[in-house]
Assembly symmetry: C2
Homo-oligomer: 719 residues x 2
């Protein structure tokens, strides 16, 4: 693996939230935001736990942040070096994505002279419960120094506090803080052991919410004073209990094993791009993020839309996973992809419950899925900036396309891994139940001949309650056809077995009727355009900038009933274009081009899921240079500040793994043109001009391949 | 006719708009608001024309106000006696509803002493173009007086100015002002002749927009100086041109003929209530208003929702006419009722155009119908008080029940008059085309057995885009059944004739299938309640007062997507209860009672159409005393100030003829219990406690009947 480093050279208070995301470390069990050790709640530090949720009162249910074992600050001659009182004079923050190690180096000016703190830390990729941290203090003058480090149970929450009880303890060399959640009584514990090799007076305090250890000593000028911390984070609901103890771990050993684990990942995952270091860095940085959040060796969880960067979007799992992230795992570490799908299989019951709630048959997956498939999405998902009232949104009720995304994810997995066994392990039931849900959505006019689906929210959430959304109808048809084909493909024994629970003959008839008679908006004969939904072309045709200029408040929501985009053709994100990029074999290049050209200037790209879809379609129609800036936007979603952080009064910042997964899809399926044809990997590359060579590895049906594209030609070699 | 007088004894500036409505005079060709002669535009004086519309720029199309021939003011010793400089010290405004004469008597205090003006005026019920006015000045001191009277073409408009050209003229004894509308070039003229019998210097000025005649004279103390004005109002689009000239008319003759015409009306229309003078006054006042706006001898027009009181609701015709007003005319002056229906027959083309606009078959009548059936309702019918932006409303698109109201009006007319001839004159085509429209709304679930109608706005406009609104579905079924029955009832010749244009056999099949398989929400077995629409009972169940308390702005709209009522069970107006009161024979008294009791406390009665429906149902279930306050509310809609004058930033004040027609329906069909059974008039009275006797006349199948109810018994005698 070559060296890839992400750096911030300057301290800017307003970039603290952004850096918290940009410099995230994580190991799939938890994510640790890229905040400084001395930060307190207002700067949003977090050790965000995967798959643990809690609800306080009427507030949104959200993921839980663990007690923070990194909490550390320094006092020099009695004066604390932390915001808001002390701003650094120099500050460097660095992420070594090859090794998964975060480093900071910060200098403060004090009355006596300069004080410098460096700290490296990692979320252990080899032992999921472990965190390592090495903290060094150096001054350029003699002084009295105090380093206070410990575990802070007074964590940052959006809709907290989630710990109704906090226990603090110090025994021997170990300190621990355990928080108990209110809803389910889950105990989340952070445990630490601190070691150092200099003289100092030590003092340990167990407070109500913190355990803090203060080392007081006389610091000599230009001498490094260093401590190492090994910490463990675990929860009472863990499937596999943590068997380590913090004082038995050694920092150097942990670090070595951690780096080795990342090396194994990069050995398969690294993408090389000759001629475009910027793109190569952005894409590998995207891959880094996808690995920080991959649930390895865990079950019952999937990946939240904001990864493990905090509680935004409630720490919930969206269609993002199956649509944009899973492809990377399918082709690099299929076991992770299977874990993601297993989550959907395991939460079928939640999806059935939701369907029943809306009077539908089958399975309607949650728009914002928490543990057990619990639907976390509220009927009021946006706040009106003018009245401060919650606004009734229809994400929960009418984004039916989430069920299709689950089926789509399953089929991508099966087609690329050949693992049809998953069907009998529950995936076929998921497919059938999703198809049953779509069936119950179908309506026909009294004198009509085709099935319609009315009153939906498509991917473009700015237009709510629309009918015959091309994307939704096409995906429903895909689900019907998939269910039909998968039942038809069953061997006799499996058929008979499944037939005990379903009347399969009847289902086959029903699904066939459904996909054959589904109304799919077709390209207009005149213009080649596919209407996004009934009546879309009658909406005001106005530019994105014009719509933006109508905002009365920058945080105002663009969609909903009266948002600035609602009655215009301006859309939030790829919708028809998403459909075309997913079903490229059903449309000719001319149709795809015309629709791309129509919809792109009308797209706000207000979702990080948008750019990659446009980029991918651009590749499909042979225009990689138009695809390139959208690819870069997608790959860099978390690298640069200025992203969309508000939607109608709700903070929506965090990492963007779907965008990063989407960038990987564009590189592999777009630029490299990797596809599966007749069950074989094929490569029809279309590289951007400045890319001399693109090479990467890919898992396909259990084998690892090396793909290399150069001089317009692609080679696929089994390793 | 006994003497009925409506009076206001005090001047209050804030009541000026209310008095403009309360003291309206009119003759069906125009209405004259009850404003004072010296008022200018800000006080909303208007001579509001029936059936003449104009549109300025992007503003709403609305009815046109004629040049005002009543404009008159007085100067005493050079000082003008008019607002805002001179407020009266005493003021009395009176409406003699028996004679249709408006009188005002106002005294001002000036430096020299008191000045008193009296003025009587009428909108001529015998000659539709004529206006009579007698104006008297008296002072209690000698002074120099100037009376300026004339025609003011600078009229008050909501979305004007509508006159792009104004001509003023003075020839001989006649002055005239003609305004030409911008859209259609219609010329609306007011012509006047002024006569007086005292010495004075006269001066006539033809200005750009006014013709003003000033009489300057020395007024002696305690001497009356009087002038009389005969005026004519006419328009270039009149079917029958005005053949009179203002100088050939004599005030006394006009007045005598006018009173005689009102006497003929009251001879049929007066309702007597022994034991309740207040109710008798309110009801006859309601009847007065219905007569001020009745289109007699006119064609191509109907009655706007705000009568002829101005441009509110664009001067457009709503379902109000067929649902609430037509009953009175059917039973007192069927020719007027037929004119109203003829308007719908004549505007079938407009209704077909609207249906086609929405991709529907048949006829979809305008929610706000102007000439030719032109749909005046905008997609944005309310203004957001917080952002000042227009709000997307669905009145225009989805209040499908207006077409059913037209059919319902036709059937009420036919059943009460026996005039089946109207069917072959176009009414049957209206019924068939409305049924075809509803047919094209019907949908069925892929595996469903009944037809549904989704995504509608029912009478309760606070809940938009609902599905299976009980009222709408029931009315659609009524239309299907009516169309089926009316085709079945055709004689052979008529059938063959109509069969040339329609495939009647097929229509019969389709309409039968439609009404037989229509889904109508049924009373719950547990509670007896009928759900207003799918999911209504799941909405927040909260009181009207609680919802009101959530308003952040008193002018805020309650409905729409985010209004305070939208996600609650609080409704604007009778919806399920309207259905029950109209289809009382389809439900037992217990069901009707349970639903009344459930829905009434949840009803804001934010529409003047609401109270009468609740009142009527209360009579049907044998509870006239619960009906009584709602009846009084309905009958007094224009008598008392404090009515709802704003909806989301839009002024909605004016007269309430539907409420007044509703009061008449309650008195006759509710309290008197008049019904048609087996083609005969029957009477099942249910009088409020304090009513000793109720008597009135009624036209039925061409004969006049006298109905008298006393001691719990009703008698019906042919006259």
């Amino acid at each position: 693996m070559r060296a890839f480093t992400i750096t911030a050279d300057k301290f800017t208070a307003e970039n603290i939230p952004h850096c918290g995301n940009k410099f995230l470390i994580g190991n799939g069990y938890f994510g640790i935001r890229g905040t400084m050790e001395e930060y307190t709640k207002e700067h949003m530090p977090a050790v965000n736990m995967a798959g643990i949720y809690d609800k306080v009162g009427d507030a949104w249910r959200e993921s839980v942040n663990a007690p923070n074992p990194l909490s550390t600050y320094v006092k020099i001659n009695g004066k604390k070096l932390a915001l808001p009182d002390a701003e650094p004079i120099s500050h460097k923050q660095e992420l070594d994505i090859a090794k998964g190690i975060h480093t900071r180096c910060t200098t403060w000016q004090t009355e006596g002279g300069e004080v410098c703190v460096t700290c490296e830390r990692f979320a252990d990729m080899a032992r999921r419960n472990a965190v390592g941290m090495r903290y060094t203090l150096k001054t350029d003058f003699d002084c009295t120094a105090e380093i206070t480090t410990g575990i802070d149970g007074d964590v940052w929450d959006i809709n907290g506090p989630h710990f109704v009880k906090i226990d603090t303890a110090s025994r021997g060399d170990i300190e621990a803080v355990s928080g108990t959640t209110g809803e389910k009584g889950i105990i989340v514990t952070a445990q630490e052991c601190v070691s150092y090799r200099f003289d100092g007076e030590i003092n340990v305090r167990c407070g109500e919410k913190q355990v803090l250890k203060t080392i007081t000593f006389t610091a000599k000028a230009n001498t490094e004073y260093c401590f190492e911390k090994t910490a463990l984070i675990y929860a009472s609901c863990d499937e596999k209990p943590c068997t380590d103890a913090a004082d038995e771990l050694n920092y150097a050993d942990l670090k070595r094993e951690h780096i080795a684990a990342w090396e194994r990942i990069w050995d398969v995952s690294e993408v090389e791009i000759d001629g475009d270091d910027e793109a190569m860095l952005a894409l590998n940085y995207s891959i880094y993020h996808l690995n920080c959040i991959a649930p390895r060796g865990l079950s019952g969880i999937s990946i939240p839309a904001r990864g493990l960067s905090g509680q935004v979007y409630k720490g919930a799992v969206f269609w993002d996973t199956e649509m944009f992230m899973i492809d990377y795992y399918i082709h690099t570490e299929p076991a992770v992809a299977k874990t993601l799908l297993q989550y959907r299989i395991d939460t079928l019951c939640g999806a059935k419950t939701k369907a029943a709630e809306y009077g539908l048959d089958g399975a309607y997956y949650a728009w914002e899925s928490q543990e057990g498939g619990f639907e976390a999405c509220s009927d009021y998902n946006v706040v009106d900036v003018f009245t401060k009232r919650p606004m009734r949104t229809y994400f929960r009720d009418k984004q039916y396309h989430v069920s299709a995304a689950v089926v789509y994810g399953i089929m991508k997995y099966i087609n690329a891994t050949g693992d049809t066994g998953i069907l009998s392990e529950g995936a076929l039931e998921v497919i059938i139940e999703c198809a049953r849900m779509y069936r119950s959505l179908l309506i026909k006019k009294a004198d009509g001949s085709q099935y319609e689906i009315r009153d939906v929210v498509g991917p473009d959430e700015y237009h709510e309650r629309v009918s015959n959304n091309a994307y939704t109808n096409k995906m429903a048809q895909f689900v019907f056809k998939t269910a039909y084909d998968m039942i038809k493909a069953l061997d006799n024994d499996s058929y008979d077995e499944l037939n005990k629970r379903y009347d399969l003959e009847k289902l086959l008839d029903v699904f066939k009727d459904s996909y054959e008679n589904m109304y799919i908006p077709q390209p207009s004969e005149d213009t080649g355009l596919i209407e996004q939904f009934d009546g879309y072309f009658k909406l005001e045709d106005v530019s994105v900038d014009e719509v933006r200029s109508r905002l009365l408040d920058p945080k105002e929501y663009w969609g909903g009933a009266y948002g600035v985009a609602a009655d215009t053709q301006v859309l939030k994100q790829a919708d028809v274009v998403a459909m075309l990029s997913m079903f490229k074999n059903d449309y000719n290049a001319e149709i795809m081009r015309k629709n791309w050209e129509y919809y792109e200037p009308r797209t706000e790209h207000g979702s990080s899921l948008s750019a990659c879809m446009y980029s991918l379609l651009s590749c499909h129609i042979g225009n990689p240079d138009a695809a390139y800036p959208l690819f870069m936007k997608s790959a860099s979603a978390d690298m640069n500040p200025g992203g969309k952080e508000w939607a109608g009064g709700i903070y929506i910042g965090g990492t963007h793994p779907a965008s990063e997964g989407g960038a990987w899809i564009v590189a592999v399926k777009g630029f490299a043109g990797i596809d599966i044809a007749d069950g074989e990997l094929v490569c029809n590359p279309n590289l951007p001009k400045k890319w001399k060579k693109l090479s990467f590895k890919l898992m396909f049906k259990g084998e690892l391949y090396c793909i290399s594209i150069e001089n317009g030609k692609g080679t696929i070699n089994k390793i």
